[in-house]
């Protein structure tokens, strides 16, 4: 991936910090009985590590083709969840629609890895073939469309930041938490800034001493950082 090395290191550093923070979210959620969206936090960890490796080759930790499988599966999973949400009539089901944005991010990752692999193969095949092979497998218009969508999502998320109050990472448990439904549950989940509910499996049982969700505002900031970095990486591939 071309671009000034210091800039690539900066973005890679942001991605590593984001991934580390998402690890801490999962740990805090488990230890302090606070709800979070485990799927979203987990995929953010994977995206952070993968993006860092894409931006700075020495940080690559996966075998060739591995990330394509991971993000292909993640995109399929989130798309399926979103389709279920679109079909659903109840509030919790409708909350699953926000998975569309995660499906989009996974598709963008998949595109970037496929395009990078294609370009590498083209270079390996020789300079005479490189332009043709790279051009055939790498669709710049698709990269631009994905960048548009991701940057739009960044703006959308930023607009919602004031609705998400900062919650201390070590907020005390014990606050009675009702089962979240419909509009009331919106924006309370990790990584969910579009107004959705917690996944059914992540609902805090009422009266069992669950604390507030883990820092929704910081989760949104992670999505913003990730969206900008992915947009940058996609634009570099044009």
């Amino acid at each position: 991936m071309a671009g000034p090395s210091w800039l690539a290191y900066t973005f890679a550093g942001v991605m590593i910090i984001t991934a580390a923070y998402c690890v801490s979210r999962l740990v805090i959620a488990r230890r302090r009985h606070r709800p979070t969206d485990h799927q979203v936090d987990a995929v953010h960890i994977l995206m952070g590590v993968a993006m860092a490796g894409m931006l700075v080759p020495r940080l690559r930790i996966f075998w060739a083709g591995g990330w394509e499988i991971v993000f292909g599966a993640a995109a399929a999973w989130f798309t399926w969840q979103a389709i279920r949400g679109l079909r659903s009539q109840d509030a919790i089901g409708r909350g699953q629609r926000h998975h569309l944005q995660h499906a989009l991010a996974c598709l963008a990752m998949l595109y970037m890895f496929l395009a990078a692999a294609s370009a590498s193969r083209a270079v390996a095949a020789g300079s005479a073939m490189s332009g043709m092979a790279g051009g055939a497998a790498h669709f710049p218009t698709l990269a631009l469309v994905l960048a548009f969508a991701l940057l739009g999502y960044v703006v959308w998320t930023t607009d919602r930041l004031p609705s998400l109050a900062p919650v201390a990472a070590f907020a005390a448990p014990g606050v009675p938490v009702p089962v979240l439904t419909g509009a009331a549950a919106s924006s309370s989940t990790a990584g969910d800034t579009s107004g959705s509910t917690l996944p059914a499996g992540d609902h805090a049982p009422a009266g069992r001493g669950w604390g507030p969700p883990v820092s929704p505002r910081l989760a949104a900031c992670c999505e913003i950082a990730m969206g900008v970095t992915m947009g940058y990486a996609l634009i570099l591939m044009l």
């Binding site: 940057l151 960044v154 004031p162 109050a165 009702p178 509009a183 309370s188």
Partner: protein
């Protein structure tokens, strides 16, 4: 989006109570806020484009310096000076430019800083219009609606003014008139589209093969489909350039006066404006974004966004009350 300023459900109160959601401080975006977000999105795209490798090279400074050509000395002097300065400190200067645009984008999108960011965007856009675009070429005879005149960046500034938050109680027949008032907003529209119509009749556009050469020239470096469209369009206009320029001028003139027409006709004119803006954007090769050297999406996309802001609203002129208006919007 489900958190509403007015939707004080019991669950919503619980969220506020534990400090997760601040419902009282946030409302669903209205049309003006959506347009502000679209503007923020374009600024964000600009910022990311500014991070491209090419912008860190001397080629970027040379591109800026090239806009001095043909301009009066009082305009060209500062352009050449700033291009030299950027050329000497290319990496730092470009990084600063990109970060400024990133902050403007996020500042517009984040409600508490929208006024600050819009104000900064106006100042930044005016500076770039002069030092980066040579006033859009309007003084050196090279300006054409098809090559981005009167300068894409000046449309950012215009949008920032028209979409400025505040004056929530002011009635207006379209969103763009809420802050400045309908009369001033219509006048600004007339000046912009009228100047485009005028420029379409100037030699830079009307001369034989001028339009054709300009559009074909955009195809270089573009992906196949866009290069094909621009090449075919250029070939089609090869012997029809002057006539096409006159047709373009007439269309742009109709758009310019269309906002004074009754609502149904004005809506038709706004649709025409969006179609014309889309055609201009295609002719501009989407601002060269797909070539790896584009600094912004150029004027077509912004003209379309501007046109949407002038869409005649249904019914009576809306009066936005303070309580229902999104914070900062």
């Amino acid at each position: 989006m489900t958190i509403q300023a007015t939707g004080a459900s019991s669950g919503g109160r619980w969220l506020s109570g534990i400090g997760v959601a601040r419902e009282e401080r946030w409302a669903a975006p209205d049309t003006r806020r959506l347009l502000q977000l679209a503007l923020a999105g374009i600024w964000l795209l600009d910022a990311v484009l500014q991070f491209q490798s090419f912008m860190f090279t001397r080629g970027f400074a040379q591109m800026l310096g090239g806009t001095a050509q043909g301009n009066p000395a009082v305009i060209a002097g500062p352009i050449s000076w700033s291009a030299r300065l950027i050329g000497q400190h290319g990496t730092a200067a470009n990084a600063i430019f990109a970060v400024i645009q990133l902050l403007i984008a996020l500042g517009i999108a984040w409600r508490p800083t929208i006024r600050l960011a819009l104000g900064a965007s106006i100042a930044w856009a005016l500076g770039v219009w002069w030092l980066g675009e040579g006033l859009g070429g309007i003084l050196n005879g090279a300006a054409s609606p098809v090559n981005g005149a009167p300068g894409a960046v000046i449309i950012y500034a215009l949008l920032a003014v028209l979409l400025w938050p505040g004056r929530p109680g002011r009635p207006a027949p379209f969103v763009a008139g809420r802050f400045t008032g309908a009369a001033l907003a219509r006048s600004l529209w007339l000046v912009l589209w009228g100047s485009l119509a005028y420029l379409a009749l100037q030699p830079a556009t009307r001369a034989p093969h001028a339009l054709s050469g300009m559009i074909s020239g955009m195809a270089s470096g573009e992906p196949g489909w866009l290069a094909g469209v621009d090449n075919h369009l250029g070939a089609f206009l090869g012997h029809r350039g002057p006539a096409a320029a006159v047709v373009l001028a007439v269309v742009l003139a109709v758009v310019a006066v269309g906002v004074w027409l009754p609502r149904p006709a004005a809506r038709a004119v706004i649709v025409l404006a969006v179609v014309a803006a889309a055609a201009i954007w295609i002719a501009e090769g989407l601002g060269g974004m797909l070539t790896g050297g584009g600094t912004d999406p150029n004027s077509g996309l912004l003209l379309a966004l501007l046109a949407v802001a002038y869409w005649p609203l249904a019914g009576r002129s809306p009066v936005i009350t303070q309580s229902a208006s999104p914070e900062g919007a």
